[in-house]
Symmetry: C2
Subunit: 356 residues, 2 copies
């Protein structure tokens, strides 16, 4: 029998809350019967909707929470106002207490990250957390991190992101030794990019067993799939991911508009629907929905606030793959191993210097 | 009679050099007969191709240059090796000497920016230069800056970028008081974003006559056209522009692939070609080709190295519009006026404090 995987869900998060979270969980369950759920939310809201999903109810526990973090709450407010009674906090806490393997929320990103940091504190081996996102490419999918948790990362932080991203690629993309690139801009010898160059040097010299460093990657290379993992600091990563999503949506809008205007175009699209499969998959941002918080002592998945049930199901499924792969342990092992080898090298170097 | 506009062109720049630059110039000339050209390049290469373009030759002067900056030259190398004899340098120098209204090169961006800074030094009112690019949106086009000249800009630099971008929007988009937004990420209260908040405050308080500040803009908002001008530092700007371009190319590739696979899809596309006009214009990255260097004492346009003749013509035409609008003077006037008003306010404040 396959091992059970338990997800804790913040039923109040997102623009539509329970109306998306519960049907989304039921979709994920239909595809992955090994899922179990711990649900946190307001009983008055969740109860009636739960009755419509008996299959889900059969594999879930529900706990009432008095407070819901609002989509426009500032992280500091969310942390102040009766934090420990909110559905968001309790969803994360289930991971800390070990009663869930991972948490999913479509709530306010800032509040979720603040609570996740507070509750799951940084992993012993990791300086700063990152949010990893999926990017549809010509070759399949790549992972981009950081998508907004850590702004202006230094070289050692970028190095850690590379290790975390590679561990996620092993879990999600089924690659033995994923390729990793550092996001950079074409203009060389520009001030302010030293940390990226140093991170590249560190990755090359480290020659880690679980990642293959392939050098710098530019913004237009990500979609070509030149690296399984693309590493950058959180500001540029967030902007890149959203710029690409926005462009895909914009173009999808033009296609819809054109098809609606012309019967023949519609006919052509319908008859060629197989041929347009890759296009549709790329434009379907629901499939890649789910930012994975890495660098904490537990897995938290952020779903888009505006995701529909299919999108929320994708976030649950991404979390399931990540949780099943014991990713937190793997990251810590990789980093601990790397640091130990660095210390040995340093000792050897000092010994040699002393002997001369 | 309309005033003549003279462009100096680096005929050796770009992946295909003269084979793209000369036909591109002829295309631009056919659309804008007020254009005149000063051409710089290697006579042995340019001569034979020039014979194929008699209309262009009739409105151009040509000067032989011994040296061509290579696409993979580092900026420091380009500045060292016989700089003043290279076609790139002399193209820029024509702007400095006043014999051309603006310069266009498809050469190495880093070398071009380094030479442009060296030759046209920073404008008296501007701290740091920026590269401004065009972004096709649902509403038409927006301007994004900086696309890679200045990494990690502080608040006052972002403020200057806003003024420069607004001046360019007045020139290119024909807006009296363009809207300006600051690129930011959704997560609030994250370290490292103070400079963006301060720049926003400065723009709001300045209440400049030639720009309307509309607040923060996220990566997925740019394509919606929520602001005529989107301001950010050069790293994120470069990544955003290239990520969006890459996504548009990727999707265009899927569409071509699908249409090639199915006769009916092809038929539908052909018959509905009118309806697909907006889609095609958005996917046609040639139309928005041309990064405008702002903040220098003269206008330099960077064309994509891989642009074709139509793309290079677009870069020439963007430069023509910018040059005709006296943009350098306008930017300096706007900033001088703003700084004078700040000094008056400061005096008034000091006088008041003294009187109390």
């Amino acid at each position: 029998m396959a091992a059970i995987v338990t997800a804790s869900l913040d039923v109040m998060g997102g623009d539509k809350g329970a109306g998306v979270v519960l049907p989304g969980a039921e979709i994920a369950l239909s595809r992955f019967p090994d899922l179990r759920f711990r649900l946190f939310g307001d009983e008055a809201v969740v109860g009636p909707i739960m009755k419509l999903h008996p299959k889900l109810a059969a594999v879930s526990t529900f706990e009432h929470c008095e407070i819901s973090v609002k989509m426009d709450d500032k992280p500091s407010q969310a942390l102040r106002r009766g934090r420990w009674r909110s559905s968001m906090w309790r969803t994360i806490e289930a991971v800390k207490s070990g009663t869930a393997d991972y948490a999913v929320s479509a709530g306010n990103t800032g509040a979720l990250m603040a609570m996740a940091k507070f509750c799951l504190r940084g992993s012993a081996e990791i300086d700063r957390p990152a949010i990893a996102g999926l990017w549809p490419t010509l070759k399949g999918e790549s992972i981009l991190l950081d998508c907004g948790a850590t702004i202006g990362a230094e070289a050692d932080v970028l190095f850690e992101f590379a290790v975390m991203g590679a561990a996620m690629a092993r879990a999600l993309l089924d690659k033995e030794r994923p390729t990793v690139g550092l996001l950079n801009i074409g203009v060389e010898e520009v001030k302010g990019l030293e940390q990226i160059r140093i991170a590249g040097q560190m990755l090359r010299e480290a020659a880690l067993p679980h990642l293959e460093y392939v050098g710098f990657v530019e913004g237009n290379d990500i979609g070509k799939g030149v690296a399984d993992v693309v590493v950058t600091e959180g500001f540029a990563g967030n902007i890149a991911l959203k710029a690409a999503e926005g462009t895909a949506r914009q173009i999808a809008g033009y296609i819809r508009e054109a098809v609606d205007q012309s019967l023949l175009a519609r006919l052509g699209f319908m008859l060629a629907s197989g041929a347009f499969g890759r296009l549709r998959r790329t434009l379907d941002t629901r499939r890649s929905n789910g930012g994975v918080f890495l660098g904490l002592n537990g897995i938290v998945i952020k779903s888009h606030g505006g995701a529909d049930a299919e999108g929320f199901a994708a976030a649950i499924e991404i979390g399931r793959s990540v949780a099943k792969s014991r990713i937190v342990d793997k990251i810590n092992e990789d980093l601990a191993q790397y640091r130990a080898s660095r210390l040995l090298e340093e000792d050897a170097r000092l010994a040699k210097t002393g002997a001369m």
